[in-house]
């Protein structure tokens, strides 16, 4: 068992003990809620991991590294952030895909730009933002976020690339 799994199990046990200590039934409700989310997202997770399996055998490593890898500079970061905004679906679909691209060697800056593009500037979410907060707010937030996330991607690349 690796350190990540162990940390998560210890954290889950700690939270569950706190819920049990409250003595209001939240330990069972928490278990049920976690189980029902896992059950309902399992088909999605299964399909996402199969896509990950195919991506691993199909995507040519060198091509992808050239486009958005650590040597690709600003254009690679912009492309990675742009690709991130197009990634559909929730974390169960997007994160395994991004994890695979990272395993294929696209580099830390590009991986972080992909996650940030998907999380911070999702095109699917823009419809909700426009509907509830209007075009002025959406334009202001998108412009500022885009500039910041590009800076953050290059910062991550400069500081952490090569740290393992």
């Amino acid at each position: 068992m690796n350190l990540a799994t162990l940390t998560m199990i210890v954290l889950a046990a700690g939270l569950w003990s706190y819920a049990w200590w409250r003595r209001d039934g939240s330990h069972w409700r928490g278990l049920l809620r976690g189980w029902s989310t896992l059950k309902s997202t399992f088909p999605l997770l299964g399909l996402a991991f199969i896509i990950v399996g195919y991506a691993t055998v199909l995507v040519p490593e060198t091509g992808l590294q050239g486009w958005i890898g650590s040597g690709s500079g600003w254009s690679g970061l912009i492309l990675a952030l742009g690709m991130g905004t197009f990634i559909p679906g929730g974390p169960y679909v997007a994160l395994p895909l991004i994890g695979t691209l990272n395993d294929l060697g696209i580099g830390l800056g590009a991986t972080i730009a992909l996650v940030n593009g998907w999380a911070g500037l999702s095109l699917l979410h823009a419809a909700w933002e426009l509907r509830y907060l209007g075009w002025r707010f959406t334009a202001i937030r998108w412009t500022l976020t885009l500039v910041f996330l590009l800076l953050i991607g290059s910062l991550a690349q400069a500081i952490f690339e090569g740290v393992s």
Partner: protein, 175 residues
């Protein structure tokens, strides 16, 4: 929504399987499928723990609690509270965008609402266990470290540069 996503993903899987079969025959088509299953099985304990943590966090936090903490705060205190609330508020875009609109209408400033939405997008507490499980601790921690200051900075910048637009935006929102 989820059924539609599942169908689209199933279509993508079929397309990739045909592509792999075309490139490397049954061997490559099987390799992709088996690779996916192996990763899923390997990550199962981590995923079960991540979903349990997410379930318990959602139980301890409710949207009502988060909205109450934030209220109609403004200024730097409001921006920091908005970041904390955005990170804690559970639910998808169909939940937090209406909350953001309500905050705006209740008198929150542009910077506060930008900070709230940015924190929800970039640091959501409920998504962290899933991100930790699927991307690994190193990537998750580095991403959090480099984006730590983004939501408050976006809030301050939006307020400083375009805070005067707050009333215009507020008036344009439907009740």
């Amino acid at each position: 929504m989820r059924e539609r996503t599942t169908l689209i993903l199933a279509g993508v899987v079929l397309l990739l399987a045909v592509l792999a079969w075309n490139q490397g025959g049954w061997e490559m088509a099987g390799e992709g499928l088996l690779g996916g299953f192996r990763t899923l099985v390997r990550m199962s304990p981590l995923l079960v723990a991540a979903f349990l943590i997410a379930g318990l966090i959602q139980l301890f936090l409710t949207q009502e609690n988060v909205s109450r903490w934030l209220g109609a705060e403004s200024g730097w205190r409001g921006i920091f509270l908005a970041c904390a609330s955005g990170s804690l508020v559970p639910g998808g875009p169909f939940i937090y965008y209406p909350i953001a609109a309500t905050l705006f209408r209740a008198g929150a400033s542009l910077g506060v609402v930008v900070a709230f939405v940015s924190a929800k997008n970039l640091w959501p507490l409920v998504r962290l266990p899933i991100e930790f499980a699927l991307l690994g601790p190193r990537l998750t921690l580095i991403r959090l470290a480099v984006t730590l200051l983004v939501p408050p900075l976006l809030g301050f910048l939006a307020q400083g540069l375009l805070g005067h637009q707050s009333d215009t935006i507020r008036k344009s929102l439907e009740p």
